[in-house]
């Protein structure tokens, strides 16, 4: 087993170091206290990965080969910089409020939980849900780690770029014009792959798959922690996390290596931080929003679109905070895309042509999308809509659902621009792109059941 286990151990140590670095920085993004613990662990992984993504091009720009020494220096700088930020503040609970009151501006939150409700530590339901979540994580880990990452898009796009950056210690000119590798895609994931390889000293596309189950764990921690903080009972938050943990259209062997799993994590971080920032839940919300916006813009093109959608939602719902929140949602995403300019594509996008759009093609796209899912997917969507209808009208849930709807609409409309026809793009991408919305959709639905 040593051929695989030793590199896996090396990768694990590197990822642990990233998370530890993220943890040291997270104190200025996520407030202290037990209510934020689960979220802080998830955010730590995100911050660590984000730092490594930034580390690789920073090193290359100064002509240095990325290595542990450089990373430790950058990590120390980043931790020092984060420590210099103002301490996080938590709004006071209202007069007469109890410790169970969700943190934040009380005007925007649901009433506190009745005494004893939503608790029941060690109850059979909670134990069962915890076991279910752990089993879901273990099964995805088995799927992700069975063999070296193999999906077509990993071989042709994400892995190819990461392996090339690592092997060439730079970004060769030809990657800007290699059409099948989509030079117009952002480089966050390839830089993460390259960064892990620089730290472990070799390109191992099997051990590196460990990144993905850890993205799943971080997603579940943030989902559970955020829902609990929003006043949702442990049972509902656990049920939501268990459903996401077992959602195979996202956590599959096929999607391991592609951008959807990290993007789904980033979208959840972005959505949760957006509604926190709109509600002024705590002093770290705007920082979390800015970081999440940068992360999703670095991972996929639709990250920038979601940042724009989030900014528009902020302008609509943000009241006195609208500009501050909108700027935090959009500014960092735009900055990340601007930072891609030195590595930008030298060729026009081959798959899409704005001139092709027509009402007829949009209809074709919608028709192809309607034909795609089988009955289990339609049944699942029906149950999701039922849950939305049965839930309370919680502002946070409404905003998250709008964000999900914006992304889903984009995924159905964009194929109307496809050169090879709307049906082709729908059939090749829609199921996996919409699967990446699952954690955010789970948060949007579950938050409508506070205190139950």
């Amino acid at each position: 087993m040593t051929s695989f286990l030793l590199p896996l151990l090396r990768t694990g140590i590197a990822l642990l170091a990233l998370a530890a670095t993220g943890w040291a920085m997270a104190g200025k993004f996520v407030p202290p206290g037990p209510r934020f613990h689960a979220e802080r662990i998830g955010w730590s992984y995100a911050l660590g990965c984000g730092l490594l993504i930034a580390f690789v091009p920073s090193s290359l720009l100064i002509g240095a080969r990325p290595n542990w020494i450089g990373f430790v220096v950058l990590a120390a700088l980043a931790i020092g910089l984060s420590r210099s930020l103002a301490p996080l503040t938590l709004p006071s609970p209202p007069a007469g409020g109890r410790g169970e009151m969700p943190l934040g501006n009380p005007a925007h939150f649901e009433p506190p939980l009745p005494a004893g409700e939503g608790r029941g530590e060690g109850s059979p339901t909670r134990v069962l849900l915890l076991l279910l979540i752990l089993l879901g994580v273990a099964i995805y880990a088995l799927r992700a780690l069975t063999e070296p990452m193999w999906a077509n898009d990993f071989i042709a796009i994400w892995g190819l770029k990461g392996k090339t950056i690592f092997g060439a210690v730079g970004y060769p000119e030809r990657l800007r014009s290699l059409e099948f590798a989509h030079p117009e895609y952002p480089l966050g994931l390839p830089l993460l792959y390259a960064g892990i390889s620089f730290l472990t000293g070799r390109w191992d596309d099997h051990a590196m798959a460990l990144i993905f189950p850890l993205f799943q764990v971080a997603t579940l921690l943030v989902l559970f922690g955020w829902l609990r903080r929003r006043g949702v009972s442990a049972a509902v938050a656990g049920l939501s996390a268990a459903t996401v943990a077992w959602f195979e259209p996202l956590y599959s062997g096929f999607l391991t290596g592609m951008a959807e799993v990290p993007l789904s994590f980033g979208i959840l971080l972005f959505g949760a931080a957006l509604v926190d920032a709109l509600d002024d839940s705590d002093g770290g919300a705007l920082r979390r929003l800015a970081f999440a916006a940068a992360l999703i813009a670095a991972l996929k093109n639709e990250g920038l679109f979601l940042a724009v959608a989030g900014a528009l939602l902020a302008l609509i719902f943000g009241r006195g905070r609208r500009w501050k929140v909108a700027l935090s949602a959009f500014g960092p995403a735009l900055l990340v895309r601007a930072l891609h300019l030195p590595w930008r594509s030298r060729i026009p996008v081959a798959d899409l042509d704005p001139g092709l759009f027509s009402a007829e093609r949009l209809w074709d796209s919608l028709a192809a999308a309607a034909m795609l899912p089988g009955w289990p997917a339609w049944a699942g969507l029906g149950l999701l809509l039922t849950l939305i209808a049965l839930g309370d009208r919680v502002p946070a849930g409404k905003r998250l659902l709008l964000l999900v709807a914006c992304a889903a609409a984009a995924y159905v409309v964009i194929p109307a621009f496809a050169v090879r026809g709307p049906a082709w793009l729908i059939e090749t991408t829609l199921l996996r792109t919409t699967a990446a919305l699952a954690p955010l959709a789970a948060a949007a639905v579950a938050v409508r059941f506070p205190g139950r």
Partner: protein, 143 residues
């Protein structure tokens, strides 16, 4: 039925649907594959994996080419390979970070500093051949 009970039933049904949709049958096979391949080197694990299932002999060829390329080589031209996307993508990935191009006849692609890797027979005489293996041979780098 109260709203709360209906929501609980819908949520439980959704979880049951997600669990029922799982491809359970593949899990024992995955465990067996992992146990069988984990002791082997990385290239063998990829050779036995899904990404090379369309043409395992081709990946074996690419791996042999990768191992025989001298550090001085500027790039690799691959000859006599089907030009479908799967073959093109895998060659670029397996030989990264080197630049990979595709040719159809060995004589037309002898560029200075470049390795020419030919997939399959006929095998030429030994002169000028850098390495030969069951799936093909490598020539160059050319002056």
């Amino acid at each position: 039925m109260t709203r709360r009970a209906a929501a609980g039933a819908a949520a439980a049904l959704l979880l049951a649907l997600v669990l029922a949709s799982h491809t359970w049958a593949e899990l024992p096979r995955r465990a067996r594959v992992l146990a069988a391949f984990a002791p082997k080197e990385l290239a063998v694990r990829r050779l036995g994996g899904s990404g090379t299932a369309f043409d395992r002999r081709y990946f074996s060829f690419l791996e042999n080419v990768r191992r025989s390329i001298p550090p001085s080589a500027k790039g690799v031209v691959i000859v006599h390979v089907p030009d479908d996307p799967a073959h093109v993508y895998l060659a670029n990935y397996a030989l990264a970070p080197r630049e990979v191009t595709f040719g159809f006849a060995t004589n037309n692609v002898r560029v200075s500093g470049v390795i020419v890797a030919t997939y399959g027979p006929p095998f030429p005489p030994d002169a000028g051949v850098l390495a030969r293996f069951p799936e093909g041979y490598v020539e160059g780098p050319f002056p």
